[in-house]
């Protein structure tokens, strides 16, 4: 009983539409009832009985709600099996209610729910379906309903057509009438999507041309026609999910659903093609393509001519200037190069794919139309009178381009069309080119006969034809096609003329001038040869001799024509394209000859000093050719290694070989290494190369003091870092072992000495050579994974500290990197390095370093008069040596960076040390007597302490980044910023010495400019005054220009962000004053430009706040109008315009 009352309560709450019952409450009641029914607590029949009066009452509102309730419940129990009697009675009820227009939504929802039921759970019988549809067509006035109800109607119709099409056919023409009436003049996008689908289903119901639909095709089409092209008069807002494209596609399937529409659709589309509306044109082309594939060749044949003319028109209107560049990478696996490249254009693409569709469908008709076309023939006749591209008049150029594209498509589409085009046109071109078959067997060595003037136009068309043909055969690898292709005219033609084509393309190259941008004539020559060379597939290939000749021709350009830059680059690119194409066929003899004719020759170039090709070009060629494939890469790498070590052994005698080595190493680390990494090459070579460098490093000659070049060492360090960084942990272990053995055996000093404390830098005999080896070793340490085993870490740390104070930066970076990657004690179980983070920190900060009092870094003889101090104290100047102090500060900053990145506490002490350098007395609680103002540090020391913050905050390229496997904690910059900011602000307020304050500003500027904008914005209010002070302080020195710019960007960020503006309003006055001062900053244009942009942004502030500044700004900006840089003047005009038009009396200020 309790259940019944509860049920009644739920029902009442749902049916009640008065304000007392909220939508969410109603939904909850509905769910409760549905779950009762679903769990069989309440049978459906019982629910109906319970609803009783609600379903039949004369109160329209309550009846409507009651029926909707029942319908919604039926919708929700769709996964519950129902017996056929229940379904039948429900159908009977809902279909009758369709007549009740006041309660129609419930009836629709109910019918829809029943129709959609899955067959295993009990479905509507087909007679019931017929009954529903009869009732629907009898009572429903779809177009008089609201949008949601209309949508339900369409969904119902759609479902009926989909699931009960047989039942519906019994309705005869009533069905078609009904559908027409329902969808006529529908405007809502969502409903239209369904309506179009209904038409499509309807068409599939009567596929027969003699069927019922045939007589109604015109009527249906009349309803659909006005929708084309789909055009939204109102912008689509968020709540409609239907996009124009979806709707257009849906209409397209309705159009193409039956061939019966053909007499109406095609003329409409052809007419709309000439419309000026962008979407009408595009859609027409698209629809034409789809319709012609659906309607079949026969029906389309009669339109072929008119469609052809439209395509030709579209092409000649929209086809842009070809971009004569060889930059485009092969677009697909078969190395499709797509003939001549054009800027992408939607019209052109659609028109060409329509053409292709037509050719595939009805090849013979279309090819004959093309071959006999008037324009094609005119072009063929006139083109012969021009020798070079630039001589052709603009109009004819356009036609030439269009016809080129058409020929490309024609030869690419099918074998028959290709044959037909070759037969019809290729022979004519060859005749006109003035070559005969007779000289095909000549030119065995790639020599080119100077033939008579070559006609550009023909070669252009030849390339398009050949490219199409090539794509056709490369794309079709089926052996079944073998016969067809072998006996096709096109192949025969090509075989007999390939040699003369080679001659022609080659002679263009010889004749044309070298100018930039790429001359079309050069392009044609190179592109032609490239296309020829890439004729290769299982079924058809170009003769090997011709292929070899092409490669030889290109190589001769590479070796001889290096002063013709454009030609040289074009030839190299073509070689690369050919190379990556033949790589696909590993074992083919063409890949072999590419290897021997190109790759090996390029490698040989490195060793030939008598050939005058500039070295940079040799390296460029080497890297590009190497990147064509893994096999070629291996050859190139071997050659490069040989060259590197050959040169490396000569560096001390020959200055040039050091340059050569630097160039090669640069190429290896910047180009080849990333390529190997990306293309999944094995790391064997990388490891071996790194090992070899270490072996060489062992030879004293390489690192001997005689070579002064710092460049070589830097290049070696960089190469080493990148090589090690890209290796796996195992390989890194190998490399570091090798490096360590060299370090311990080949240096003059004894590593063992470093084990005894205190460390005394003066005692060890570290020569310049040793320093170099240590730097190189440090670069290995920088790049390793955290898991990699670094041997004898404790001694290494000592060694690094000792060398660090001598000012060797890589060593400091290595220390930072060690600290960044070491495992801390807490999880020492997996510790493999034999030293924990805490131990390392202890070693760095608490190891006493012993200095003799006279000369810090010199070998000392006695032990008297020295002092022992730790690293941080050196930073604070306890050693009384400025240089030493600066070195230590610099080193400490890198160590700090390592800690900062992993979010270690230790960074606090380090930053405190820097701050102590800037303003004494902050760190220790020592009585102030000890740290008075006269203990203030030297300006240079203070500057380096301030710049240490730059090292801490900036992203470094050389170490401690993702590439070198650093541990980077998220948001570390924000964290550091927010912990440092209060300290800085407090100190700046307290600092009474001018120099202290200016260096504090400097440090703060470093921190601010590297912090992400979001963090800065939060503190904008407090920061702006300080930021402005920093800006005005930094204008003095030219060296600070980048820092100044970075800071200005922070300011402009605050100005443009919503969050920052409140703070800006308060300080508008001083901000404007500061910006005006920057307007004539002489050292960096970007600063002036940004300052003006900031002023523009400021003009957005409340009028009352900035109006007083207007005159001042206008006066200042008028000077910028005469700036030496155009960008600045341009911004100044904009700025002046905004500030001037702020009040109506524009010009009087």
């Amino acid at each position: 009983m309790a259940e019944t009352t509860e049920l009644t309560r739920h029902i009442e709450s749902y049916v009640d539409t008065s304000s007392s019952s909220s939508p969410s409450l109603q939904a909850a009641s509905l769910n409760a009832i549905a779950s009762l029914v679903k769990t069989d607590v309440l049978p459906l029949q019982a629910l109906v009985r319970e609803l009783g009066m609600y379903l039949t009452t004369t109160d329209n509102v309550i009846r409507a709600r009651g029926i909707l309730l029942l319908a919604e419940v039926v919708t929700r129990v769709e996964s519950k099996p129902l017996d056929s009697a229940t379904i039948h009675s429900l159908v009977g009820f809902f279909k009758d209610r369709l007549a009740d227009w006041r309660a129609v939504r419930g009836a629709l929802v109910g019918c829809l729910a029943l129709i959609r039921r899955k067959s295993v759970l009990g479905t509507v019988t087909s007679s019931d379906a017929t009954a529903i549809s009869q009732s629907f067509f009898q009572y429903m006035q779809v177009q008089s309903l609201g949008q949601y109800d209309r949508k339900l109607c369409f969904e119902l119709l759609d479902c009926l057509l989909e699931h009960y099409s047989d039942a519906l056919t019994t309705l005869g023409d009533g069905l078609i009438y009904g559908v027409c009436e329902a969808i006529d003049a529908e405007k809502d996008p969502e409903c239209l999507m369904l309506a179009f689908h209904i038409v499509q289903s309807l068409a599939q119901l009567y596929p027969d041309s003699s069927g019922l639909l045939a007589s109604f095709a015109k009527d249906i089409f009349d309803i659909l026609e006005p929708y084309f092209p789909i055009h939204f008069t109102h912008p689509t807002n968020g709540d409609t999910h239907v996009q124009r494209d979806d709707l257009s596609r849906s209409l397209m399937s309705a159009f193409s659903s039956t061939p019966l529409f053909e007499p109406f659709v095609i003329p409409l589309l052809l007419e709309k093609l000439s419309s000026s509306l962008h979407s009408a044109k595009i859609d027409s082309l698209k629809y034409l393509r789809v319709c012609s594939s659906k309607y079949g060749a026969e029906r389309i044949a009669k339109y072929a001519k008119s469609i052809w003319f439209s395509i030709k028109d579209t092409l000649s209107t929209y086809l842009g200037e070809p971009n004569f560049s060889l930059n485009m990478a092969p677009v697909d696996g078969i190395g499709g190069i797509g003939g001549i490249g054009f800027p992408e254009n939607e019209f052109v693409m659609e028109a060409l794919s329509l053409l292709q569709q037509l050719i595939v469908q009805n090849g013979s008709l279309l090819t004959s139309v093309i071959i006999d076309d008037e324009d094609v023939n005119i072009i063929f006749n006139t083109i012969s009178s021009y020798d070079i591209y630039d001589a052709i008049p603009v109009q004819e150029k356009k036609k030439l381009h269009a016809i080129g594209r058409i020929l490309y498509i024609a030869s690419k589409s099918t074998i028959t069309s290709c044959n037909a085009v070759f037969e019809g046109l290729f022979s004519r071109m060859i005749d006109n080119l003035g070559v005969s078959v007779s000289n095909t067997d000549s030119s065995p060595n790639g020599h080119i006969f100077p033939s008579q003037k070559v006609k550009f136009g023909y070669l252009y068309l030849c390339i398009e034809l050949l490219a199409g043909f090539r794509e056709l055969i490369v794309g079709s690898d089926e052996p079944a096609l073998q016969y067809v292709i072998d006996h096709g005219t096109s192949c025969t033609w090509l075989h007999s003329f390939s040699s003369s084509l080679f001659n022609d393309f080659g002679s263009v190259l010889a004749a044309s001038a070298d100018r930039c941008p790429l001359d079309p004539d050069i392009y044609i020559g190179v592109k032609g040869l490239q296309t020829l060379a890439m004729f290769h597939s299982e079924v058809f290939s170009l003769q090997k001799s011709i292929f070899d000749n092409i490669l030889k021709k290109f190589m001769s350009i590479i070796i001889e024509d290096f002063n013709k830059k454009v030609l040289w680059e074009a030839a190299l690119k073509a070689l690369c394209h050919v190379g990556s194409f033949v790589q696909e066929f590993h074992k083919s003899e063409k890949a072999m000859s590419y290897g021997s004719l190109v790759v090996e020759k390029i490698v040989e170039l490195l060793f030939l000093d008598d050939i005058v090709v500039p070295f940079s070009l040799k390296v460029e060629a080497l890297s590009n050719i190497g990147m064509t494939g893994m096999k070629n890469m291996v050859t190139c790498l071997q050659g490069m290694r040989k060259a590197v070590f050959a040169n490396l052994s000569k560096v001390h005698t020959n200055l040039r070989s050091s340059e050569v080595t630097v160039g090669l190493l640069e190429c290896y680390s910047c180009k080849l290494l990333p390529w190997i990494y990306e293309n999944g090459g094995s790391e064997d070579f990388t490891v071996q190369f790194a090992m070899d460098i270490w072996s060489q490093a062992g030879n004293f000659t390489v690192f001997s003091t005689s070579f002064e070049e710092k460049g070589l060492l830097d290049a070696l360090i960089k190469t080493m870092k990148l090589s090690v960084g890209s290796c796996s942990v195992e390989s890194q272990n190998l490399i570091i072992q090798k490096a360590y053995s060299i370090l311990s055996s080949r240096t003059n000093f004894q590593l063992k000495e470093l084990e005894s404390l205190p460390l005394s830098p003066g005692k060890y005999n570290i020569s310049l050579t040793d320093e170099r080896i240590i730097s190189l070793f440090a670069s290995v340490v920088i790049a390793v994974w955290p898991k990699t085993l670094i041997p004898n870490m404790r001694v290494l740390v000592h060694l690094f500290i000792v060398t660090l104070v001598r000012g060797i930066v890589p060593v400091a970076q290595a220390l930072g990197s060690i600290l960044n990657k070491l495992v801390s004690t807490s999880n020492s179980a997996e510790n493999s390095c034999g030293i924990t983070l805490e131990e390392a920190l202890d070693a760095i900060f608490n190891t006493k370093i012993w200095f003799s009092s006279i000369d810090m870094l010199q070998r000392c003889n006695g032990t008297s008069n020295g002092k022992e101090i730790v690293l941080t104290d050196i930073c604070l100047g306890f050693a009384n040596d400025k240089l030493l102090q600066i070195n230590a500060i610099c080193g400490l900053s890198w160590i700090g960076k390592g800690l900062l990145l992993r979010g270690h506490e230790g960074i606090k002490d380090i930053t405190m040390t820097f701050i102590e350098c800037l303003i004494p007395g902050t760190k220790s609680a020592l009585p102030l007597v000890m740290k008075s103002e006269d203990q203030i540090q030297d300006p240079l020391v203070m500057k380096s302490a301030a710049d240490a913050f730059h090292v801490l905050m900036s992203d470094s390229e050389v170490c401690l980044n993702k590439k070198f496997h650093a541990t980077i904690r998220p948001l570390y910059k924000q964290r550091f910023f927010s912990s440092m900011m209060p300290i800085f602000l407090q100190l700046i307020a307290k600092a009474y010495s001018l120099s202290s304050r200016s260096f504090l500003y400097r440090a703060l500027a470093h921190v601010m400019s590297e912090t992400p904008m979001v963090a800065v914005l939060n503190d904008a209010k407090k920061l702006i005054p300080v930021l402005l002070d920093c800006l005005s302080m930094l204008t003095e020195d030219i060296q600070d220009k980048d820092l100044l710019y970075g800071l200005l960007l922070v300011l402009s960020g605050i100005l443009t962000e919503k969050n920052g503006q409140e703070a800006v309003v308060e300080n508008a006055h001083i901000i404007i004053n500061c910006l005006i001062k920057l307007l004539d900053y002489p050292y960096k244009t970007l600063v002036r430009e940004t300052a003006i942009q900031c002023l523009v942004a400021l003009s957005e502030l409340p009028h009352g706040r900035i109006y007083p500044m207007r005159t001042q700004v206008l006066r200042a900006i008028s000077k910028s109008l005469d700036d030496t840089k155009r960008v600045v003047r341009h911004e100044a005009v904009k700025c002046r315009q905004t500030w001037a038009s702020m009040s109506s009396r524009t010009l009087h200020f």
């Binding site: 000077k1119 155009r1126 003047r1129 005009v1133 315009q1137 038009s1141 009396r1145 524009t1146």
Partner: protein, 143 residues
């Protein structure tokens, strides 16, 4: 004012692509809207790049513009727009001379005189209606 447009169907030309300038001074009179139509003066060929003459050494700028129709009553407004634009864009050292192309306007002399008379230009700019019109033509956001 005349009811309806003075030139109802103007011919619209393509904008000329900007060449990259290296000259020390360049005028930025591009993108001034026509008082009647939503096109820029350049698109209507009222003003072209060739019609602007700049002498940086002698601080002199001379502009010759061509109204779309001979009896165009907008000629003075166009001239005023050009002048205001240049006043805002050029450093004050320049003297600006604005003229109607010879033979392109019915009252050529009068228009020229009006446009180059300092007092009359100043007076025109005191007129809030005129100034609003000029500001609308110069507003950078119309395209």
């Amino acid at each position: 004012m005349v009811s309806g447009l003075i030139n109802a169907n103007p011919i619209i030309y393509e904008k000329k692509e900007r060449r990259t300038r290296t000259a020390p001074t360049a005028i930025q009179d591009e993108d001034i809207k026509d008082p009647e139509h939503p096109y820029s003066l350049e698109e209507l060929k009222v003003i072209t790049e060739e019609a602007v003459e700049v002498d940086d050494q002698r601080n002199y700028v001379r502009i010759t513009f061509t109204p779309t129709v001979e009896h165009c009553s907008m000629a003075t407004i166009i001239g005023l727009c050009l002048r205001v634009k240049l006043m805002r864009s050029l450093p004050s050292r320049y003297k600006v001379d604005i003229r109607v192309a010879p033979g392109s306007h019915a009252t050529e002399a009068a228009v020229n005189k009006q446009l180059n008379d300092k007092e009359r230009v100043a007076a025109a700019l005191e007129n809030p209606n005129l100034l609003d019109m000029v500001d609308e033509c110069l507003a950078p956001s119309y395209y």
